[in-house]
């Protein structure tokens, strides 16, 4: 694709942002991304946002949030899967001529949402909701399925420590404490074999990214792109939580396969990958599915264990991946990183997966 990241911003995360309304969070991160790109709102060609009505507490949350996202009198649309999906939709809209440059914005203020209730209401009312399905139960079923594939509880705990150790170095993270394997093993059981210590904590946050085409950049020689969009991929798995669906991770593999094919690259070419690992079991399963990618390339930012504005964690990952390939990641920098992947998951037991590949310019 002839598309580039020219600016980005990640709102400082907090477990609970108490001093701002959600629209102020969104405005601030959008303004910061435009400033990073050196643009004014009037210069934006199109806006693509991602939000979750149920977590935002409004039936059409973009009514209030489109404007602070820079969409006033702009061509704007919203997807509801995940923040990183908006990145993909924006890229397609840019290529299709909807406007240039493009602004991608997503947010999540989990602290003001009844998160568990929202997740349980995602279950169909006939078969799954009556048995108490929610995101914790779904993650427990995923963990159980991964045990059958050889993942162990110790392995899951090791990956938690891996993520937390990197998160502690991340100046854009929450600076949370690092657990020991014993602390994880002794933490309360949520849904066998999943324990609280295996899980990333939720936080509030937002991210915004500015994209521009090569043609637009040619007309602005003073603008230096941060990264090239090398590939995109997204896939969705079946809704039913059968053993094969949970063990195979077909959608995860498919999203990476599509993105790599579009980039013309192999998995081993990825220098850094930011994974939406909500639990240690997901981290272990994803690492195995990445076909032997060395552990030191996985989750340099600490992923959701650094900050976890659940719905837009993937868009935060796109920002982190961009920082990696532009050598601006600071204390989390992987030296010489030229190709980085951002990943997001959504739905029960990660029904959907999104992958974006970013390359140094």
């Amino acid at each position: 694709m002839d598309l580039y990241v020219i600016g980005l911003a990640v709102h400082p995360p907090k477990p609970r942002i108490e001093d701002k309304r959600l629209e102020e969070v969104v405005f601030d991160v959008t303004r910061a991304a435009l400033d990073d790109a050196g643009l004014e709102q009037g210069e934006v060609g199109q806006v693509t946002i991602a939000g979750c009505d149920e977590l935002d507490g409004r039936s059409i949350s973009s009514m209030l949030l489109a404007m602070p996202s820079g969409a006033y009198l702009k061509d704007e649309t919203k997807c509801t899967d995940a923040g990183l999906m908006a990145f993909c939709l924006a890229a397609m809209r840019a290529e299709a001529g909807f406007g240039d440059p493009s602004l991608v914005v997503s947010w999540n203020k989990n602290s003001t949402a009844p998160f568990d209730n929202v997740m349980s209401m995602r279950a169909d009312p006939f078969f799954v909701r009556p048995i108490g399905m929610n995101s914790v139960v779904a993650d427990g079923l995923f963990a159980t399925a991964q045990l059958t594939q050889g993942v162990t509880e110790d392995e899951a705990a090791d990956w938690v420590v891996h993520y937390q150790t990197r998160a502690a170095r991340n100046p854009r993270g929450l600076s949370l404490a690092i657990s020991s394997a014993a602390e994880i093993a002794g933490s309360p059981c949520l849904a066998t074999p999943l324990r609280r210590g295996h899980c990333a904590s939720l936080s509030d946050g937002a991210a915004a990214i500015v994209l521009a085409s090569g043609r637009w950049l040619a007309s602005r020689p003073n603008v230096r792109p941060l990264a090239r969009v090398a590939g995109l991929g997204w896939r969705t798995d079946q809704y039913q939580l059968g053993g094969r669906r949970l063990a195979d991770m077909a959608a995860f593999r498919g999203a990476f396969r599509d993105a790599l094919a579009r980039a013309g690259r192999d998995m081993i070419a990825i220098d850094a990958v930011e994974l939406d690992s909500q639990t240690g079991f997901h981290a272990a399963a994803y690492a195995r599915a990445l076909e032997g990618l060395p552990a030191d390339r996985i989750a340099p930012s600490g992923g959701p264990f650094a900050q976890n504005p659940y719905f837009c964690t993937g868009l935060v990952h796109a920002a982190e991946a961009t920082l990696q390939v532009s050598a601006k990641a600071g204390r989390t920098q992987i030296q010489g990183a030229r190709l980085a992947a951002a990943h997001s998951a959504h739905g029960f037991a990660q029904q959907g997966h999104v992958t974006v590949l970013l390359e140094s310019c």
């Binding site: 039936s59 059409i60 209030l64 702009k74 919203k78 299709a96 001529g97 991929g233 969705t236």
Partner: protein
């Protein structure tokens, strides 16, 4: 940028309640029918875009994921688009972006709504407003639109009788539409004597709460050529405009646009026309399927789309200027949103009815000699506007 064609469309009959099917089964009905018309199998679909507005109507959050298997999306790229009442128009344009970007060859856009699953849709629609400032004074989509209608009446001296005639015309057209929800003929007196809801609107001037599904198959020019499909509708213009949520910021001295005029529709149409090379809508566009859930919306949009000047649509309507055989434009041959409003797919139904006119498959609603047709959708606080142009040729 790739050319994009519509090669299959489908909608279910719309009615208040489907007792014999659940949400995902309705979705599947539309998907199967659209694929059949396109002469494709599920394996031929590269990606799926799901059209679904507020999920509170069904009581299942993110019901699109529940529908994944039913619309043959398992294992495929899949995303949901949601811009309130404009959702169907936005989902169509997202599907268009999939193909026009060159990333996918053939895409299914599909969705459904069951608005009457909830006891009172307007209670849900009160929740779209700001929790602190707006929830508590009975603001919903009807009272919201009524304020704009009053402003339009005051600005252009339009009467309640002229709005009532819009309803009469819509029902007469819907009587020819086998999928329409409200098909019973009414008179101007019937409309004026129906129970008042929010001035100037009476009950018959407000759309029904509809349940049903719709689907459309989009394909690249290369795929169309390979399939031997001979009569597609080409998407030659696609644009949207988002406005501020605050109605008060769209009127008065300091406002850059005018609430009563649906200026967002005007701005979206200008861009879509530019792409489609339409410079004279009256001469070049034969059909307009506009999003009109209330009797006043038709005039505002036909004026914004350039079929007449500001404040002129009511008089033209009085003279039958928007009938199927008129010289200006055939407005809503399907009966429009006044007769059918499954919110999450209404914009897609508008697009289907417009594309069908190009494809020559509109049945008793068919207008002769259609070369260009327009579909619009509106969402939020009359805030999200989409405009899409369908043509019988591409450039």
């Amino acid at each position: 940028m790739k050319d994009v064609a519509v090669i299959g469309t489908a909608q279910t009959p719309f009615k208040t309640h489907y007792a014999d099917k659940n949400y995902v089964e309705l979705c599947q009905d539309a998907a199967v029918a659209a694929l059949a018309q396109a002469r494709l199998s599920p394996d031929d679909i590269d990606a799926v875009v799901f059209s679904m507005a507020p999920t509170e109507f069904m009581g299942v959050n993110d019901a699109d994921r529940w529908a994944v298997d039913s619309v043959f999306a398992a294992g495929k790229p899949f995303m949901r688009v949601h811009t309130g009442g404009a959702t169907g128009g936005s989902a169509l344009q997202a599907g268009y972006a999939h193909v026009a970007s060159g990333m996918y060859q053939t895409v299914l856009v599909v969705g459904a709504d069951r608005v009457s699953e909830t006891p009172d849709a307007q209670h849900v629609l009160n929740l779209i407003w700001d929790r602190f400032y707006e929830h508590d004074f009975a603001l919903n989509t009807i009272t919201m639109a009524a304020m704009g209608a009053q402003r339009y009446m005051q600005r252009y001296q339009v009467t309640e009788e002229q709005f009532a005639k819009v309803v009469v015309d819509a029902r007469r057209k819907a009587a020819r539409n086998p999928y329409a929800h409200l098909r019973k003929l009414v008179t101007v007196e019937d409309v004026l004597n129906s129970p008042p809801v929010s001035s100037p609107y009476k009950l018959f001037e407000i759309c029904p709460r509809s349940s049903g599904a719709a689907a459309m198959v989009l394909s690249s020019a290369e795929a169309v050529k390979g399939s031997g499909y001979t009569n597609p509708a080409w998407i030659t213009g696609a644009s949207s405009i988002t406005h501020t949520v605050f109605l008060g910021d769209r009127m008065g001295y300091w406002a850059s646009t005018e609430l009563a005029d649906h200026d967002g529709c005007f701005l979206a149409a200008q861009e879509a026309y530019r792409q489609a090379r339409i410079t004279d809508p009256v001469r070049q566009v034969q059909v307009a399927e506009v999003y009109d859930p209330f009797s006043s919306f038709l005039f505002q949009q036909l004026e914004s789309l350039g079929f007449c000047g500001r404040g002129e649509a009511a008089a033209i309507s009085d003279d039958g200027g928007f009938d199927l055989d008129c010289d200006i434009v055939a407005a809503n041959p399907s009966g429009g949103t006044l007769c059918t409003n499954p919110i999450g797919v209404t914009g897609l139904v508008r697009a289907i009815d417009a594309a069908n006119q190009i494809m020559g498959q509109a049945g008793d609603m068919q207008v002769r000699g259609v070369k260009n047709a327009i579909a619009t959708a509106i969402g939020g606080s009359e805030q999200f506007f989409t405009c899409t142009v369908f043509s019988n040729d591409h450039h």
